[in-house]
Structures are given as C-alpha cells and as structure tokens.
Symmetry: C2
Subunit: 341 residues, 2 copies
C-alpha cells in the first residue's frame, strides 16, 4: 500500500500519542502479577520480541482513520485517542483469535502468538485485549462527555458482535458447498467492514458532528471495507505476487469462497465442474483462474468493487470532511481503493 | 449445593425476568444471517440442544447475587436485570474459552461447545458472548442513570481483565515447578473472586448505595470467592465423591497446584518428594493425600478458608444488607461457605 505525503505526515504527527495512549491502557494487564500476559500483548502489537518494530506493528490504518475522522468532523484528534486505541486493540484481539481459528503460523512476518505460547495462552490473551479495548473506550469520557461515551459504547458492542458474526460465517463457509451471495455480503460486512465503519463513525462522534454527518462517515467506512475486500478477493486469484506479498491464485488452492468464486460456481459451467473435481493443485488453479475470467468472474467482481468504491466516495463527499484531514481522507480512500484518476 | 427456601423463593420469582432479559440481548446474535451463532449461544446457556433444561442451565448463582445485592442495598431488583444478564454472559464466555484451554469435554452434563462445533466456532462464540455481555451492561443506563452506567462500565472492564489475568496464571502454573503463594492468591483473585466481587458490587451500585457500602458488598463477593475456592481445593483432595460430583483425590492425579499442594511442596518433606517422583497414579494419590494431611496441608487450608469466611461475613455485616434480600444473602453465604452454626 503506497502512502502519500499528507497521510504520512499525519501518521508521523499522531503516532507517538497513539502509542502512549495504548501503553497507558495496556499497562493494567501487568498489574496483578502478570508480566507474562503483558509480554504477549506487546508482542502481538509488534513492540517486543524478535523482529519487533514498525513492520511488526503494522500501518495502524484503523486508528489513524479514527483520528482523521475526528479532525475532518471539525474536532481535535487528541479527543479521539481513546477510541483510536480501542479500535487498534479490537483489531488485534480479532487477529489473535483468527490466527488460531485459521491455523495461521505467521503474522506481519513473525510467528503468531499461539505458535509461540500455545493455543490456551493465545485465546486468553485475545480475551485480555478485548477487555482492554473496552477499558480504552471508557476513557473516552474523560476527553469528551458521558453522552458521547455512552453512544460510543452502543456502537462499539454492535461492532464487536458484527465482527464475530462475520467470523462465524467465514468459518461456516468452509464446510458449505452452497454459499449464497447474501451470506457473502453478511460475512464481509462483519469481518472487514464493521470495524472500518466503526473507526470512521466513532472519530466523527468524538468531534460532535450531527447524526446525519456521523452516518455518512460510517457509510464511508462501511463501503471502504466492502470495496477493499472485493479487491482483495480479485488479487487473491489474479494478483501479481509482488503486489500482494503472497502467492497469487492462492485463494483457489485453499478453496476460499470469495466473490469471483461464488459468481463462477453460480454459472454451473466449466469453472463449477473444475472446482468440484477433486483437489486444486497450483497448476489446476492457474487453469481455473483463466476459465473463471472467461466466464466473467473477474469482470463481475471488478464492476462490483467499482460500484462500492463509488458509494464510499459519495458517502465521504456527503460527510463534508473539513480541512487538511478531509483532504487526507479523500487521498487515502483513493489509495486504498486503487482508484486511478 | 443445598438451597434454602428464601433463596429458592427469590430464584423462582426472578428467574423468568432474567431469562427474558437474556433472550432480549442474545436475539441480536441471530440478526445478521447468523442463526447458527445464536444456536451455539443458547446451547451454552443450556436452553437448546440435547438435554437442555434446568440442569444444563446451572444454578445462576452469580446473576441472582446481583439481584439480591440490589434489593439488599435498598433498590428494586428489576433495575439490576441488565447487569445480572451481563454477569451470566461473562461467566459463560469464560466457560466456553476455559473448556477449550483446559481440554474439557463435558460441562453441566453435556458435551462442551468446542466438542460439538469445533474449536474455531467455539472460540468465536465465546467472543460473541463477551460482546453481548457488554451490550447488556450498556442497557443498564435505561434502568438507572448514565452515571451509574458509566461506573458499572469501569468496574466491568477491570473485572474482565482480572478474569483473564487469573486464567493466565492458572495456565502458567501447569508449566511451573515453583508457584509462589502470592501468585496463587492472584490467580484465585482473578479466576474465581473477581466475577463474584463484581456481581455484588454492581448490584449494590444499581441500588444507588454510598461508595462505602458498595465497597463492603464488593469485599463480601471477593472473600466469598476466595473462601469458596480454598474449600474447593480441599474437596479436590479430601472430598467424598458424592459430595463434589467428581472423583476425589482428582486434583492430585492431575497435578493441580492448589493451596494444600503449595503448602505441602513448601515443606520440602515427604509430600514434596512423592510429588516429584514421577507420575501420580490414583493409588499414589491416596497415599500422598494422607501424607499431605499429616504434614499439615489440610489444616492449613481449612484455617485459611475459615479466615476468609470470617472476612466475607464481616464484609456482609458492614454492608448492612436490608430486608428479606439481606437475610437471603446471609443464608446463602453460610451455605456457600459451608459454615456450621
């Protein structure tokens, strides 16, 4: 993901404060004779352990979106720090558990928490991070008001539930021959879009925008997530290796039920037959990707992504984002959505 | 656990309302095309699936303590329903994850969630219940005030973190030869006492008691949990099978580092030698339990439990619990703490 200077500048400006906010919240995890728990949490965040550092920390896109939305809503990004930290913690809680559920060995170039400390400790560490995310959100009241804190709490628990609903569907898909498109959208809506929608909405909420503007920010995050996921689905079959950092056609080999695949299966044609004819080797996957493209799977997914991108950009327009932060959000949306214009 | 009529009466009176409150909160889990998730949650709560019913539901001690504390603090138990539901949900979230972490096959006479649906779905279902617990707590504001809701939120996230800290230590103990007594108390304080302390405190909070009275209720719950755990430790080595529903001396065979065991190991005498001399068979466990008793492990644990029971009853006295609910709490404390007087 190439970054542009506006976003980079904002990231450099806010990152130390975000780190400080996270450190303050996480400190509590070591307080009752549990430095070991604290160590696992800081490892997950990329701060400690072998190869700790910026690469292991990730780009912090979600918390930065919180802060940007607050500024673009006319607020001071500092007031949104507790909710930005909460978002980053929820993201990491879900990563720890997803890595166990999906049997993932590496994350951001390092062994996953369960690989290092075992499943039992990893499940529990995810739970601790979940609790800390909530702790961070409660701190929001100090920076804003009880009313805003309460409203943030309401959208926060809905977001957490949506995440688990998306994950539930994703796990279920593995054992289902027949996945409806509606279920796919429910899954992506929960697994990818919910936390992005929350990030934008809670940031704007901290700025004290009107409910209408708040809804536009939320919609922007929602469609951003939806579009991003469909593009990821396309890259998982037709992406160049250097572009996505993992082997292309990989999603076919692992039989992942992505949008292009669901389209192809619904045609009940050559792709459908190939998919159902035993194991998918790398060689077979290359052939299947070509068949799927010729049957219209790639074009369908691309036009869907384009439509979602339009919806995202329209929502952002309607949110009427202010000042430099508004410009950065627009820039960022275009980069994330790989829009060429 | 034998129940007395006061508690039974209160339980019968409040149970339908508690069930309704839980159903209302849990309904959200099915809303986004995820009836499967809802099914796993209701199975965990003992409402659905084979052998569903009162036995599978458990005694609901924790939520009933919330309601009792509210009444005994001079409030109306109905106002504490959202927090009672939150407590029951947190309890069940931790049970689902504990069962995976401890490789537990059965719970309340039925296969555990991970045994039925696999680990991935079970981890995720626990997460969903965690999110729902938070949702329920937020509903508290409708029944009380934003101030009480906010304070409940603060003690809630601390409680959730304490639970994971206790669990972290418990998992760690398995691989530690040398467990300090201080760590044992930290573990029990988190794993057993924290949720009981929260139950009593949040109930009293809903009644709007003074901070001092609230602290006494919390202390009562804390010491109740601590004493209960030590008694459970004693039963795990010297209990009669019919009394505890699981095989006696079991905690020695599984090498559980309970309070009597830690006492015995610290003596560096015959028990210490036996413990460290290879596998502990059932036969060897019987001998070890006798050695541990002769070295003073049982008496030490019993006097510790008695001291904690005194602290619990004193805290309850200081809380000055009102009316019938106050009497029931006193009754219940004596039953739970197996106090003969």
């Amino acid at each position: 993901m190439k970054e542009q200077s506006g976003f980079e500048k904002f990231s450099e400006l806010t990152r130390p404060a975000l780190r400080q906010e996270l450190e303050r919240v996480i400190a509590a995890s070591a307080e009752n004779g549990t430095p070991g728990l604290h160590e696992m949490i800081t490892y997950q965040l990329g701060w400690t352990g072998e190869n700790a550092g910026p690469k292991a920390e990730g780009k912090l896109i979600r918390p930065l979106l919180v802060l940007l939305a607050c500024e673009a809503g006319g607020g001071d990004w500092k007031n949104a720090l507790p909710s930005a930290a909460a978002v980053e913690l929820i993201h990491n809680f879900s990563l720890i558990h997803d890595d166990i559920e999906d049997d993932g060995d590496t994350r951001r170039g390092r062994p996953t928490v369960w690989k290092v400390w075992g499943e039992a400790q990893a499940i529990n560490t995810g739970d601790a991070i979940f609790a800390l995310a909530f702790a961070s959100l409660v701190n929001l009241v100090e920076r804003t008001s009880p009313e805003i804190g309460l409203q943030a709490g309401r959208i926060f628990h809905r977001t957490c539930l949506r995440l688990t609903q998306g994950q539930h569907l994703d796990i279920s898909f593995e054992y289902q021959d027949d996945v409806e498109l509606e279920s796919y959208w429910q899954m992506v809506g929960g697994k990818t879009a919910a936390l992005l929608a929350f990030s934008l909405e809670v940031g704007a909420l901290c700025a004290g925008v009107t409910p209408e503007i708040q809804a536009h920010f939320r919609d922007f995050g929602h469609y951003l997530g939806m579009s991003f996921q469909v593009q990821d689905d396309i890259l998982g079959i037709w992406g160049a290796e250097e572009q996505i950092g993992k082997s292309t056609i990989g999603d076919l080999v692992t039989r992942k039920k992505t949008l292009p695949v669901l389209f192809g299966l619904a045609q009940k044609n050559s792709f459908y037959e190939g998919w159902n004819a035993g194991e998918i080797t790398s060689e077979k996957a290359v052939v299947l990707s070509q068949i799927l493209q010729s049957e219209g799977g790639r074009a369908y997914a691309q036009s869907t992504a384009d439509r979602l991108t339009d919806l995202a950009l329209t929502a952002l327009e309607n949110a009427n984002p202010e000042g430099e932060a508004g410009d950065i959000l627009k820039e960022l949306a275009k980069i994330l959505l790989k829009r060429q214009d």
